[in-house]
């Protein structure tokens, strides 16, 4: 280990690993610190991704693909099933392997990785972040860096210590409970979604197959719902009624900040990526690909800033992110706020109307149009995004 690095990345999830890799590829020194003992574990995630999105960063490999998806089954509260088939393949990942492989790409690019290193503070110099304080092997340590990239996930404390506003409104926090269960009957090419107040109010319930008779099953509900009933209570009653004979292989909780990206994701000496920057798609709660994109942009810009010896170059990151993904997420967030207020009756009406569309013409876009017809005020909400 060196005494000082050009860049320190805090957190070794997909966003952190991409930041480390894209920075290290430019020949500068990079250290990535991870608080847990393993990269990729525990898995707090539904694990669904789009093949094309992933392949921008890593070649597909069977060892981290649990299932290949080409159908969505969307289920309304009254049990009406809407099936959408699509050409583009989706993957259900084995994230404990996937994250590990991503970290390896960072390491292959020259980044150093240290696990069980818990970052608990920042160093400052003339008002600029100049390194991190961390706990390792029972001792308190410090290490300097020109730029710190915070990829510390849903907690997002590193950014706060630099003075950025990172906490997530509890109404935007999707509080999740999930299991990996075997002995469950699922089609291994279909992702199942359930909507409505009995499944997951202000959120959705998912069943994502991970092979034959095994699935990642879980749900997210807003903190607002959690005030009355927790995610785990919803999950337990679903499992008892639907899959009483399932074996539970893992059971875990998690949180997803489903808001648009934070207003500011860079500040002198620091950049935020992934969940820490709220780079999750607020509508789907999916954050793997978008976090990797955020990480790659931040890593590239940080590397350029070091090479040009012009650290203020990192402020370009906010706009590059916003233009590529951030502005789309603002629109998705408006749609989310519309959909999350739907009554069960509205979900049912949409499912009934949509099922009249011929099967080969069913797309997510068409589903959205159907939702708009059933709920014209949503259109006004969406239009506002473009006008304002």
């Amino acid at each position: 280990m060196k005494k000082e690095y050009d860049i320190i990345v805090v957190g070794a999830g997909p966003a952190g690993s991409m930041a480390a890799r894209f920075a290290a590829e430019q020949g500068i020194s990079v250290l990535m610190l991870e608080k847990d003992r393993d990269v990729g574990y525990p898995v707090r995630c539904g694990e669904a991704v789009n093949k094309k999105g992933i392949e921008e960063f890593i070649e597909s490999n069977e060892k981290w693909i649990a299932a290949k998806i080409n159908k969505f089954s969307l289920n309304s509260p009254d049990g009406t099933e809407v099936v959408i088939e699509f050409q583009e393949t989706g993957y259900i990942l084995e994230r404990r392997i996937f994250d590990y492989e991503l970290a390896k790409t960072a390491s292959n690019a020259g980044a150093e990785i240290l696990t069980r290193a818990y970052v608990n503070g920042l160093l400052f110099e003339n008002g600029k972040v100049s390194g991190v304080k961390y706990e390792f092997n029972g001792g308190q340590k410090e290490i300097r860096a020109k730029i710190v990239i915070a990829a510390d996930g849903v907690e997002s404390r590193v950014g706060r210590w630099a003075g950025l506003e990172t906490h997530c409104d509890f109404r935007d926090m999707e509080c999740c409970a999930q299991v990996t269960a075997s002995n469950v009957k699922v089609n291994s090419d279909t992702c199942y979604f359930y909507f409505g107040k009995d499944f997951a109010p202000n959120g959705y319930f998912w069943i994502f197959p991970k092979g034959e008779n095994i699935a990642n099953i879980g749900l997210g509900v807003s903190g607002l719902t959690g005030k009355k009933k927790s995610a785990s209570t919803f999950l337990n009653s679903f499992m008892e009624s639907r899959y009483p004979n399932a074996s539970i292989l893992t059971k875990i909780a998690g949180g997803v900040p489903c808001s648009p990206t934070l207003k500011k994701i860079s500040s002198p000496g620091i950049m935020l990526v992934g969940d820490a920057a709220h780079q999750v798609n607020p509508l789907s709660g999916g954050g793997i690909t978008s976090g990797m994109i955020g990480g790659s942009i931040a890593g590239r810009i940080a590397g350029e800033a070091i090479k040009m010896n012009k650290l203020e170059h990192i402020f370009a990151y906010d706009k590059v992110w916003h233009d590529r993904i951030g502005k789309k997420h603002e629109i998705y967030n408006i749609i989310k706020n519309g959909i999350y207020n739907f009554t069960d009756e509205k979900f049912n009406n949409i499912a009934h109307s949509f099922n009249k569309v011929p099967r080969n013409k069913r797309t997510l876009g068409k589903l959205f149009t159907t939702a708009l017809i059933n709920n014209p005020s949503l259109l006004i909400d969406v239009a506002k995004v473009f006008v304002i």
């Binding site: 906490h167 997530c168 903190g223 607002l224 949180g255 900040p257």
Partner: protein, 73 residues
């Protein structure tokens, strides 16, 4: 009887020992940065907690509780 110091002088939020899954939801919603989470260790930073209860509402597995009589340490 010792109580944790907080803005309301008594702390009412408690993380039930041995039940936490360390997912970080509560840390993400805490407006005061009053929760510290390590790999498998969690604690409320007493001086910062304002008893706002957002962590209680956000906990997916109900291991953070609000005790209106105050929490002993």
């Amino acid at each position: 009887m010792l109580y944790r110091q907080a803005k309301t002088s008594i702390l009412m939020i408690e993380i039930l020992p041995n039940k936490c899954d360390f997912c970080g939801c509560c840390v993400g919603v805490c407006p005061e940065d009053a929760i510290e989470l390590k790999e498998a260790e969690i604690r409320i930073i007493d001086e910062r907690c304002t008893n706002c209860a957002k962590c209680v509402w956000s906990c997916p597995i109900e291991v953070i509780v609000f005790n209106k009589n105050g929490v002993e340490i």
